[in-house]
């Protein structure tokens, strides 16, 4: 290809931020697990990260237009895989989310997120007008709605919810009318209200989901269930103070009071040991990452590239928001990991593939 990009076209700032966040994660995974029977988990995470970087570079070499061209096929593959996992998938913790592939268990919904980003980018890129009319909006809603329903069926509320901001951000950038934006925001508020209102929520949510919401609202009533998790997380964060208790010294972390302290609640462990100053560093890096993504979107060669990048930004931003808010007790437990810091194979790979798409767009910004 005449436009084969050179190495200096990569977004090295983005890669540096990425690497820094990953480093914080590895350090905290080590601190949280080295004294337990999970010791050595940080090495596994490093392997995933290296694999992730490789995939990211690999994916950046394939022109995203080529990928967008296959959107329909990808969409069908996505729906098929989601349906397959419901039929064939292994059940863990009462949910069917995993499919066994190449000696590893993969969460199909992670792949689904990536494909929906691609499908939405393709869809919004093809909307011609500057303003998004209601019919196109409904079509986009349908595109997202089917996989969302399948993921909810697993059930995996957390991942399903991630699809919503992708749609919202995409629609907003595609020229969503302000009055439509208002109506949908209102609808969203009503839906959230309904979820928190027991007489309505019992028709919408599963028992364990309602329990999480109740224990979020009244953590003291459920001192050992998910209310306990939230409370212990808050105790960990709060007791860290401004300066933190120091690496390996967090009692909440080391003694196992923080639930899944190496994964979903890793921010809690980090905040306990590194204090507010550490939180400032971590959230600063995440903000830099997200703003860097927006900047890449602003410099994209075309709308398709921009939608692709912003889909990634929406997904990552939502992950950070929901996970960190949960850690400080401001949102219920949803099971959404913190991108790049939480331990986990599928989730890590999703982030790197997503960033790979962003890199892809960036490399082609000067190409005509």
């Amino acid at each position: 290809m005449k436009d084969a990009p050179g190495t200096r076209d990569y977004d090295w700032w983005l890669i540096a931020i990425l690497a820094a966040i990953c480093a914080l994660g590895v350090v905290e995974i080590y601190s949280a697990t080295h004294a337990s029977n999970l010791a050595g988990m940080h090495i596994k995470q490093i392997k995933w990260l290296l694999f992730g970087f490789a995939i990211m570079f690999g994916l950046s070499r394939v022109d995203y237009h080529l990928i967008l061209d296959q959107a329909l096929i990808l969409y069908v593959v996505c729906l098929t895989a989601l349906a397959a996992v419901l039929v064939l998938g292994g059940t863990r913790f009462g949910a069917k989310r995993w499919i066994h592939f190449l000696g590893q268990d993969f969460q199909v919904s992670e792949l689904a997120k990536l494909i929906i980003i691609i499908v939405l980018a393709r869809f919004f890129a093809e909307v011609r007008s500057d303003e998004l009319d209601l019919r196109d909006l409904l079509k986009a809603g349908m595109l997202v709605g089917v996989p969302l329903a399948l993921i909810l069926k697993q059930p995996d509320l957390g991942t399903a919810l991630v699809l919503v901001p992708m749609l919202a951000v995409g629609a907003f950038l595609a020229g969503l009318k302000w009055q439509h934006a208002g109506i949908f925001t209102l609808a969203g508020v009503l839906l959230v209200g309904a979820v928190f209102y027991p007489p309505v929520s019992k028709h919408l949510l599963k028992a364990y989901q309602r329990e999480r919401i109740t224990s979020f609202l009244h953590p003291e009533d459920d001192a050992k269930g998910s209310g306990y998790q939230l409370l212990q997380s808050k105790i960990a964060v709060g007791s860290g103070g401004f300066w933190g208790k120091g690496f390996g010294n967090g009692s909440q972390n080391q003694l196992g009071y923080i639930p899944v302290r190496y994964s979903d609640f890793i921010m809690s462990a980090w905040a306990e040991e590194q204090g507010f100053k550490g939180v400032l560093l971590a959230l600063g890096l995440y903000m830099a990452l997200l703003l860097r993504l927006v900047q890449n979107a602003q410099r994209a060669k075309d709308r398709a590239g921009m939608f692709l990048v912003m889909g990634v930004a929406a997904a990552l931003g939502f992950h950070v928001l929901v996970n960190v808010a949960m850690v400080i007790g401001a949102m219920p437990v949803t099971g959404i990991p913190l991108p790049l810091m939480s331990y986990g194979g599928s989730a890590t790979l999703f982030v790197f593939m997503a960033i790979g798409l962003v890199m892809n767009v960036r490399l082609r910004r000067f190409v005509n």
Partner: protein, 649 residues
């Protein structure tokens, strides 16, 4: 290159900028949340984290021991283990209950009850589910440490008393503090603390009880102790030991001599007020209460008609019978209104105020049924009722109650034991106050021989006889050696009176006509007075109901030597069916003989305390250097109310 779709390059820059601002705002909000937790509320969460990781396990302070006057151990401690249930995690507890029930042999219902009863205590405070763990229980806990993480052993020390209730009523027993005690302690006591419930254990609880320490350990989220993380320990301060005035040797003789008969024995040193021996029968074994007494057992003890929990030595208020004749005789001599040579003729009964009063001799089964002509000395020797009926009539109730009151009847002696009873000295003001009627002159006749409404405790009689023989010097009885502030009540009697009375009491034992002549001891001036009370006192009648077995109380109060005695022993034997001299006299004699035997051996230098140490207390009952705690003062003896008592003219 062409693709199946077309995309233009008009980018919505404004909206992208809006997204940027939303990102910054979002991160800002999250940081605010962290600021609230980590800076504003940091202290609160810091404390919660500390509560999470630190578990406090009490270290029980051993109670102080009790030693006898020679330093021999009377009450000791033995190590034991209690099983604690950690309740931090109710779900875990619920999950392990069946396994715990199997392993420790406690029913699940019982465990549920215990959890229910303690549900108001803080969750981090473990509860004792089995106060006395067997070695099998300890093995069970040790081998299931990892799979049943909610059990813990607590090292405690239990009270060990001499077996068979030896000295049991004096020492009392311990038990878990009641709610009232906890409230009254101003935060010093906590639920589950072991405190003295009766006797010396209760009286000197503050000295005997130490201060529990606290072991602080780090625990992880499933309650497992982190051995490698040590925290500061607050050491337990052991309780202080007390040395009693009790003489183990005399106590042992007393226990054996009284045997299993219901009754009481008090041996005093009238020179100091020191109690040398104290017994009450029947007696429970306080070792049974050292752990936790089952409710059923406790109910049985309380409902037993023989009242084994009742310390008769200080609580039995009974008619003193003929022992009281010493008071009547002393009143007669001190009052001087009746000539000393006064004699009566006893035909076996006398008629006063139109009613016939029998002399005990009238219904005696053998020998004469009358005393014939008797003077004071002979009347005391033979315990002639008719003589004292006459004296009582001549003196009147005012004089009798004046002297009875002066000699301590109707007043607590102030011994350092809880729940002492005062007895009752009837008087005209008393019937007016209590029964709102006039005194019947006929009542005086009965009181003159220690019958009717008059009641005394064994301790009061020992103090009274010892005091009169000491010339009217009444020392406050007490149980703690080298006690400070021993009250000393004096009602100086004339030398002549003391001489006449003590001569007569010497005669009771040493002259052929005496009621206690069989008690005579070679080389010892054993003196005393017997008494056989046929009826029980007003108060006691109400308490016990009218039961035949309580209608016959045999008294003997013996002392030696004749003047200024060194030892005075009051003995009460109930339901003996025997005369006071026969039933109770030998007990007093045995104790006094043992006292002199020991004294003689001591002066010959052949005996040391260590030779005679009681063996049963403890394998390691080393007689430690005695560090005796001197209590600040004995409880104040009740001072005699000088309100309604006429002064002697």
């Amino acid at each position: 290159m062409s693709y199946s779709f077309h995309s233009d390059n008009r980018l919505p820059q404004t909206r992208l900028a809006v997204v940027s601002y939303i990102i910054v705002g979002m991160i800002g909000l999250l940081l605010l949340g962290f600021w609230k937790l980590q800076v504003i509320d940091s202290d609160k969460y810091g404390q919660m984290a500390e509560q999470n990781r630190v578990r406090s396990i009490p270290i029980i302070a051993p109670r102080g021991r009790m030693l006898d006057r020679d330093g021999r151990v009377m009450v000791d401690n033995r190590p034991s283990f209690s099983v604690l249930l950690l309740r931090d995690d109710p779900k875990l507890v619920e999950q392990y209950l069946p396994a715990i029930s199997d392993g420790l042999g406690i029913s699940v219902d019982d465990l549920h009850d215990q959890l229910q009863n303690t549900r108001n205590l803080p969750k981090f405070q473990p509860i004792v589910i089995k106060p006395e763990a067997s070695s099998a229980d300890l093995d069970f806990i040790e081998s299931h440490r990892s799979d049943i993480p909610v059990l813990e052993m607590l090292s405690v020390s239990r009270r060990r008393y001499l077996p068979g209730g030896f000295l049991g009523h004096a020492t009392g027993y311990v038990g878990e503090a009641s709610e009232q005690q906890i409230e009254a302690s101003n935060g010093k006591l906590r639920p589950g603390d072991v405190v003295g419930k009766s006797g010396l254990e209760r009286q000197y609880n503050d000295i005997l009880m130490g201060t529990d320490g606290m072991r602080r350990v780090v625990v992880n989220s499933v309650g497992k102790e982190m051995k490698d993380m040590r925290l500061t320990e607050q050491e337990a301060i052991p309780g202080k030991q007390i040395q009693l005035t009790i003489d183990y040797d005399l106590q042992q003789v007393a226990e054996q001599s009284l045997g299993a008969r219901p009754g009481a024995v008090v041996a005093l040193d009238p020179r100091t007020g020191e109690v040398l021996a104290m017994i009450s029968r029947p007696t429970p074994d306080p070792n049974d209460f050292a752990v936790r007494i089952p409710k059923e057992e406790w109910r049985k003890l309380n409902e037993d008609p023989l009242h084994p929990l009742f310390n008769r030595a200080i609580q039995a208020q009974l008619a003193p019978g003929s022992v009281f004749k010493i008071v009547t005789a002393t009143a007669m001599l001190e009052d001087r209104s009746i000539p000393e040579s006064f004699t009566t003729f006893c035909p076996g009964y006398g008629t006063f105020y139109g009613r016939q009063f029998k002399c005990w001799v009238y219904s005696s089964k053998k020998g004469p049924t009358s005393h014939g002509s008797t003077d004071l000395h002979e009347a005391i020797l033979q315990s002639c009722d008719v003589f004292f009926y006459t004296i009582a009539m001549k003196l009147g109730i005012d004089r009798l109650s004046f002297y009875g009151d002066k000699f301590g009847i109707g007043h607590k002696t102030g011994i350092d034991l809880p729940s002492e009873e005062p007895g009752l000295m009837p008087s005209e003001p008393w019937v007016e106050r209590v029964f709102h009627r006039k005194w019947y002159a006929g009542e005086t006749i009965s009181v003159g021989i220690g019958q009717g409404a008059i009641t005394t405790t064994p301790l009061q009689l020992a103090r009274l006889i010892g005091g009169i023989a000491s010339g009217g010097d009444f020392k406050q009885p007490h149980m703690i050696k080298d006690a400070q502030n021993v009250a000393d009540e004096k009602y100086p009697l004339s030398e002549h009176t003391v001489e006449r009375i003590t001569e007569a009491m010497y005669g009771v034992v040493n002259e052929p006509h005496g009621t206690g002549t069989k008690l005579k001891l070679a080389g010892i001036e054993l003196s005393g007075k017997s008494g056989t009370a046929q009826v029980i006192g007003y108060d006691t009648r109400n308490r016990f109901g009218k039961q035949k077995k309580f209608e016959d109380n045999a008294w003997f109060v013996g002392y030696a030597p004749r003047r200024n005695p060194e030892i005075c022993v009051a003995v009460l034997v109930q339901e003996s069916g025997q005369h006071g001299g026969e039933a109770s006299g030998p007990v007093a004699r045995d104790i006094i003989k043992a006292y002199y035997d020991k004294k003689n051996r001591k002066t010959q230098g052949t005996v040391t305390a260590a030779d005679h140490g009681p063996t049963p207390v403890s394998d390691a009952a080393v007689v430690a250097p005695v560090v005796v705690i001197k209590p600040q003062g004995l409880p104040a003896a009740q001072t005699h109310a000088a309100d309604d008592k006429p002064e002697p003219q």
